[in-house]
Symmetry: C2
Subunit: 200 residues, 2 copies
Amino acid sequence: MLYPEVLSDTINSFRKFPGVGEKTAERYALATMEFSDEDIETIIKNISECKKRLHKCSVCGHLTDKEICSICDDSGREENLICVVEDYKSVFMFEKTGTFRGKYHVLNGLISPIDGIYPEDINMSPLMNRIDANDKNAEIILALKPSIEGETTTLYIKKIFENKNIKVSRLSYGIPMGVDIDYLDSITLDRALLDRKEIS
Amino acid sequence: MLYPEVLSDTINSFRKFPGVGEKTAERYALATMEFSDEDIETIIKNISECKKRLHKCSVCGHLTDKEICSICDDSGREENLICVVEDYKSVFMFEKTGTFRGKYHVLNGLISPIDGIYPEDINMSPLMNRIDANDKNAEIILALKPSIEGETTTLYIKKIFENKNIKVSRLSYGIPMGVDIDYLDSITLDRALLDRKEIS
């Protein structure tokens, strides 16, 4: 046997993390040998508490360790500008850009009839009560991935809020910044052509 | 604040691991949210036990969870063929090739007078008693890195065992397998030329 049992077990534990192969897992396991006892205490405390203490915000469905997440709790943000995303990872991505000043709604899934996932199976209905149709500036921005499930969910939400006379938009599709057009796939290029904007 | 506190703490914990940046640490921390409670239990148990249960083999200095490591304990391996390495990571590397049938001696350091590290500061003296000079096939293979410290340690060991009439060899230097000669550094190429072997 190549490794002592406890080392081999630790390597297997690290392999559970996304994108971690044999070599990286070995590196992490051996790294624990060099950590101070306090560091190890902190690491295992954090790993064990992360899942225990985090849950979904009762308003928007984002990840939080409080009853209501810090974004929903922020009165400085526009109440009636709601960005609808698939999961909490998207919220972190948007927050890193630092430009969006509205709120989020995390669906925690996408409609996919083929997989038996219908609107009632995702965090959809609370969204209806979150936006005030009397506000003329009210807007729902759909930021879902361009897949069949993403498009289905986008169209579903569009239909609901259309009836309520609320503006519904989606993110623009097109050429990612800094990418060479020569290497782009033809669907993206086609879309970018279709959605071209007049230069003002 | 971008992350809930416990998530931010967990991300910081993962950043302690070698080669883990902000983005990877975030990915690992969020992955713990998807793990089962049993998986999390196992992971934290392993991380906490790895350093506690592993220590140096009393014979060779390699990492083990027993008194004597499984390699020293293996009577099928040649006693008088000892490969001297800097650390336990090298042992794992050699064991992965699966061809070496001797034993190891882990120095857990290299001689470096400039840093105040002398032969008595590393796991050197037990090596003297491990090899039987009456065995004509006795051999010490030095597998230390080609740096000033590695060379110093190599020469030191060579000198000691020369007096005891024991064969001392070192790994060959030369062109790594699969590498294009055009991209090789000139010191390696020079060495490969100097150490050229007659084709038999």
